[in-house]
């Protein structure tokens, strides 16, 4: 197996990765992008399989997003009553800013699946590959994410 120059991976996937992280994290996206790209560059020469470089990159991204959230949780000041962000709010998001805010509070797998499906327009097979789950689980995560966003889960098309 011959790895392509890392530049080829940058040219093909860095733009989508950046869009994905901005959508998932907002202001923390740039730091996370650095972290993901440096991790990828460091590990690249020892990669054994070059058939899914995009999936590999997005898998690193998914795990870094979880780290960012752990960091935020640690930084957050303690409050008397912890809001339970794992349950959907009653009302569907009314404007775009609110929708993005809600997206960024989705559980990581659901958020990654929703963004890869719509923002990056990927088929469920590729989403599963990037998230390390089956195609069916990828579809289920998109469905669950939409439900939590109070969007109609029947919007999930069978595939792209």
């Amino acid at each position: 197996m011959q790895l392509p120059p890392f530049q080829a991976l940058v040219d093909a996937h860095a733009g989508d990765l950046h869009r994905f992280l901005v959508a998932a994290l907002g202001a923390d996206a740039d730091d996370c992008f650095q972290d993901v790209m440096i991790t990828a560059l460091r590990g690249y020469p020892t990669l054994r399989d070059d058939r899914n470089l995009r999936g590999w990159l997005f898998t690193i991204a998914a795990s870094r997003i979880v780290d960012v959230h752990r960091g935020r949780a640690r930084r957050a000041a303690p409050v008397a009553e912890v809001p339970d962000t794992s349950t959907p709010t009653d009302a569907a998001p009314v404007d775009d800013a609110e929708l993005w805010h809600a997206v960024r509070r989705l559980p990581p797998m659901q958020r990654a699946a929703v963004l890869q499906r719509y923002l990056l327009d990927l088929p469920f097979r590729d989403i599963g590959a990037a998230l390390g789950c089956s195609e069916a689980a990828a579809r289920q995560n998109v469905r669950a994410g939409l439900a939590r966003l109070r969007l109609d889960p029947t919007l999930v098309e069978d595939d792209a």
């Binding site: 120059p5 950046h18 901005v22 460091r42 963004l115 923002l119 327009d121 969007l151």
Partner: protein, 209 residues
Amino acid sequence: MTPTPPTPVDVLRAGPPAEPGAGLEHALERFRRAAQSEGLLDVAWASVDSPVGALVVAATPQGLVCVSWELDDALDELARRVSPRVLEAPARLDGVRRQLDEYFAGRRRRFEVPVDWTLVAGFRREVLQVLSAEVPYGATATYGELARRVGNPRASRAVGSAMATNPLPIVVPCHRVLRAGGSLGNYSGRGGADTKRWLLGFEGAIPAR
């Protein structure tokens, strides 16, 4: 008639509003600097415009490793033979880019950059090093003369292959090596013999056309 408002899914497809100062170019520039400071930039490359066509130049931490007219082929070869950590990072090539600009502006007669000879070994490397050291701007040598200078007078064909596979054309001046009898011979860079003739005319080694 009012247009249909975008659905939430349209909003997801369109992506979030841009974060200030968080564009992709800015992020990639930061990444290049981080790669450099973490010691992960095994091969840095940049493009250079020149009168003989657009060139790609590439360097390792040891020095200039490749000059080429063929971007994709050059990057593939570097990934295969040096390291797959190949990244566009023009700042790392500032020295050689400036010297090439000076050369093509007629203000520089020799290149003074550290060279990484990784892509060429053995006899070929030896020939290219002798060529660099002993055939200056404005001069020429024949394949046979160069063979004699490396102490192997019967090796003019091998000298020819060393020129044909020179990984650092222009900087290591294989264009200054001609056939016996004064005909130009081949040139493996883009434009072939025309580029060779242009370079020799530019250096004043043959009458410029």
